[in-house]
């Protein structure tokens, strides 16, 4: 049977964020208004990489999609991170040259690019591990008037029909939808991939386009950052101090 769908080719856009490695020591500079990037290893946000990007690549490899593009809103110092995504196998990448911590601003830039370049499927990670906002994906969907399918742990594509699984407390929901759509990807969707040497070499010559941002208001900015107070000392009670233990749990730890 000849399968006809409304798009000539299925292109997948994967927005990635550039985040500090999970083992990084977090500190701030400029009166706690900026993250201190000194000595930090930057990585592709794991949800974007392991789940969204790898699944997009799998869909392409199995012939269900034609092209996978990475998009990132950020300055040129994030290009090494973008190339990590290219090394894994994305076809090309776009960097919107702007610095922002305003989710709507970022979403606007991505939505604008997706619309002008007819991307019908946008796969995001379920959140980024530095701000954990989980906001950009749904905002892109709203701006494009696409459905937003949140936190999928499985995704398949047949023509333009999307089938996905969403894990719920103790169960699973199987959802069907139609592209164009935005899907946010959670654990389980794909296995982490390690780039090979060829991928790493190829990343150097794949197209990485830089575009100026489209004008858009920035309503939100971070005023300053702070660290959680460190964990306090461990308190030990002997067997005959049960009363004191209960009291401490109630009054100090406030857990009972």
């Amino acid at each position: 049977m000849l399968y006809l769908h409304s798009f000539e080719i299925m292109k997948i856009l994967v927005p990635i964020s550039n985040v500090p490695d999970t083992t990084s020591k977090i500190s701030f500079t400029d009166n706690d208004t900026r993250f201190n990037g000194q000595g930090i290893t930057w990585i592709v946000n794991p949800y974007d990489e392991w789940y969204a990007l790898v699944r997009a690549l799998e869909l392409k490899e199995s012939g269900k999609a034609d092209k996978v593009t990475i998009i990132h809103v950020g300055l040129s110092d994030s290009e090494p991170t973008i190339r990590k995504g290219l090394a894994l196998g994305a076809d090309d990448a776009v960097r919107i040259n702007a610095e922002s911590s305003d989710s709507l601003y970022v979403a606007y830039q991505i939505a604008d690019y997706a619309k002008n370049n007819s991307y019908e499927l946008i796969l995001t990670g379920k959140e980024s591990i530095q701000y954990n906002g989980s906001a950009v994906g749904s905002m892109i969907a709203a701006l494009l008037d696409y459905p937003f399918l949140s936190q999928a742990s499985f995704l398949d594509l047949n023509g333009t029909t999307l089938t996905l699984h969403v894990e719920t407390e103790g169960g699973i929901k199987v959802v069907e939808g139609q592209a164009p759509a935005v899907v946010s990807c959670a654990k389980g969707m794909a296995e982490q991939r390690i780039p090979n040497m060829r991928g790493i070499m190829a990343a150097r010559t794949k197209p990485l386009q830089t575009l100026d941002p489209k004008p858009f208001r920035q309503n939100v900015k971070v005023r300053n950052f702070g660290l959680n107070p460190g964990r306090s000392e461990c308190k030990l009670f002997t067997e005959d101090q049960l009363d004191k233990l209960v009291e401490a749990l109630h009054k100090e730890a406030k857990v009972i």
Binding site: I194, M197, R198, M201, T210
Partner: protein
């Protein structure tokens, strides 16, 4: 269009790792965490050579780092190669040694001196890890003095008949193909030695005893036995009589491998020591607070840094196709001695725990010692250096 890579071409001194090196190091750490670290003590204890691991490393491109892409390799330079070997060596010296021997000795010999047909036939299999390579120069009675080798080949029509044994050969049992250096002329004639490519399964060629070693136990070391082994003349690399000169050139590059391996082992031992010194408390404080320990760490870190600079310098010269004999000997000699010293101090810093197999430093300590011996002992490196600076 942006995205051009500025650190691509080295102009003068640049001590920064390239983006490629960082990505490769990251790839190896991720791979090793899953595939090497959980198993290395088991392989070490049982002297298991994990063939499957090498196939997987082949898929990643680690088995043909220097082999051009047209022959199935990664097509990278010595700079990335040093990163590959040292990152693997940091996790497990034995796996690092095997990857080094495969890449720079067997594969390297065919790559540098093989004809087009030989390259097309062997490099794609070797570079992808489908085949594991071995390289045989050393014999029981001729180590440093390889020129006196006894293994011989005589010509019979279009064939050569090889007789003799080779010892201490990495992948002597599991290697699918071996480049073997054999006497075809007069004793002590540097033009009397020829390199043959011999495939596993060739009648008259078999593996002998496997060595039971102090360290590098997951890297297989064994004897090769040739009894009237008949090999077609098309299996000769270059011309008859060119083998010894080729071997010396292969070893010039090979020394960078062992320097990189030494560097990896030393870095691994240093990192473990820094971490432990901050965690281990005695007399109510971390042992790192004692100057005796802190100064050891300072010495170790300084020496590791120097070893790294020597190694990358040799790699850089090799990339530029400059003569590298002296500098690869500098790097191999110094880095290997540093590996032994740093891992010895690491055991000292760990105290009794360092003497057990529950902590990583006893393995670094055992593995490191190979580095001052294999591919030319420290004494031989000094001979090479002295000869070069005195000439």
């Amino acid at each position: 269009m942006s995205g051009e890579i500025l650190n691509d071409v080295s102009t003068g001194f640049d001590f920064h790792l390239t983006e490629n090196q960082k990505m490769i190091a990251d790839m190896i750490r991720k791979f090793g965490k899953e595939e090497i670290l959980p198993h290395l003590m088991h392989w070490d204890e049982e002297q298991i050579f994990p063939v499957d691991l090498f196939r997987k490393m082949g898929e990643l491109g680690l088995m043909g780092v220097l082999v051009p892409q047209e022959y199935g390799g990664a097509g990278l330079t010595y700079t990335e190669y040093v990163t590959v070997i040292s990152e693997i060596g940091k996790m497990c010296g034995a796996i690092g040694l095997s990857v080094a021997a495969h890449n720079s000795l067997c594969t390297g010999h065919i790559l540098q001196f093989g004809n087009e047909e030989q390259k097309r036939k062997y490099l794609p299999k070797l570079a992808t890890g489908q085949w594991i390579g071995a390289w045989g120069l050393t014999e029981a009675n001729t180590g440093s003095d390889a020129m006196r080798m006894k293994c011989v080949a005589r010509k019979e029509g279009d064939y050569w008949i090889i007789n003799g044994t080779k010892n201490w050969i990495t992948h002597g049992i599991s290697g699918d193909v071996v480049v073997v250096l054999v006497r075809t002329g007069e004793l002590l004639d540097s033009h009397g030695i020829t390199a043959f490519i011999v495939e596993r399964g060739t009648p008259g060629f078999r593996a002998g005893k496997k060595e039971n070693k102090l360290g590098m136990r997951a890297s297989e070391t064994a004897e090769l036995i040739f009894e009237n082994c008949k090999v077609h003349e098309s299996q000769i690399i270059g011309q008859p009589g060119e083998g010894f000169i080729q071997a010396m050139k292969v070893l010039d590059g090979g020394r960078i491998s062992i320097a990189a391996l030494s560097l990896g082992i030393a870095k691994g031992a240093l990192e473990a020591s820094v971490k432990y010194a901050k965690e281990r408390h005695q007399f109510g404080q971390p042992i790192a607070n004692f100057q005796a320990i802190a100064f050891k760490l300072a010495d170790m870190a300084t020496e590791v840094e120097a070893a790294e600079l020597l190694t990358f310098k040799a790699a850089d010269l090799k990339n530029k196709e400059e003569k590298v004999t002296r500098h690869s000997a500098f790097a191999k000699y110094y880095a290997s001695e540093v590996a032994v010293k740093v891992s010895t101090e690491a055991v000292q810093i760990f105290g009794g725990y360092g003497y057990t197999k529950d902590f990583p430093v006893e393995k670094y300590y055992r593995d490191s010692k190979l580095c001052t011996i294999g591919e030319g002992t420290s004494e031989i490196q000094k001979l090479v250096i002295a000869r070069d600076i005195l000439k």
